[in-house]
Symmetry: C2
Subunit: 149 residues, 2 copies
DNA sequence: ACTTATTCCTACCTTGATGGTAGGATTTAC
DNA sequence: GTAAATCCTACCATCAAGGTAGGAATAAGT
């Protein structure tokens, strides 16, 4: 599994916040209840998003979180990258360009590098806006039967 | 990590065998030495490939394994699918179409479904033949700087 | 000033998959 | 008959995943 619950829940939280974009601060308790997820666990996840500069937060009563930017300006890629650390489909691809010692002679490396790029390319194209507007054509592309007109 | 060592080593073994395609049976000891991998571990992996009908084997002295088909007729996708069980990037996508109970209302599901399809599409396009001939254009596509003429 | 609701921080814990290892039984070529 | 292979079953250590727990700091409203 390339994306764990951490990354999935992070995206869920971001989508939830994107829907309330412009409505001020939203409490974690509200998000957890709406999404039916453990508030305690979400706490640790939203903390990563917050420290990564994706959110603005307000402590104390009536506090909460809100997006720091417009939903269209968040790619799914950056959200997952922040929470998961890496999205590489295999261990031999490192996110910062560091490579395995056998890299020079490894015949399967181009395959893994190509796969990594395909994934990154796809996830970079999709934004929070696409998700909340349900842009199925962009997400499912040629595979989307219900996109056909 | 979507692909573990099991799948990676399986591919390595298949590529190794593809290089010896037509030369008769190759022993696991030879493969393990060439690829510098634990023979005992490879044993459990090649057993999956063999039972999955990807190989032909011969027991006893001078025995070993060989490909059951032409290298061009193995997609990376089927090799990884057999050894890994699933290549889905998230838990909420099942390989047999079974879905999460929240699927009907889940706004992020189309994203994960799209990602899954992009990955499957890529891995289905690449064959063992592409890997042993080093078809970088096919593997790295638009991202391959050394492919530019 | 007090209460309440919230974020923030640190520590802990359980479970299952990953990545192997070990030992021997069986089969086949020479 | 022997050596060299595959085949089969069992075992095991480590680590990440997926949380839980408890409390400190902060801010709004009264």
């Amino acid at each position: 599994m390339m994306v764990s619950t951490k990354g999935r829940y992070a995206l869920t939280v971001m989508v939830d916040l994107a829907r309330s974009s412009g409505d001020g601060f939203v409490s974690l308790a509200d998000i957890a209840e709406r999404e039916n997820l453990s508030m305690k666990y979400l706490e640790s996840i939203i903390s990563i998003l917050n420290k990564g500069g994706m959110l603005q937060s307000l402590r104390g009563k009536n506090g909460g979180y809100r997006l720091a930017r417009d939903p269209a300006e968040y790619s799914v890629n950056e959200i997952l990258l922040l929470t998961e650390g890496t999205l590489a489909p295999v261990n031999c691809i490192m996110q910062d360009g560091v490579q395995c010692e056998k890299a020079a002679t490894c015949s399967t490396l181009p395959l893994w590098a190509g796969l990594d790029k395909v994934i990154e390319s796809y996830l970079s194209r999709i934004t929070l806006e696409d998700i909340i507007t349900g842009n199925r054509r962009k997400m499912l592309g040629e595979y989307c039967s219900s996109c056909e007109v």
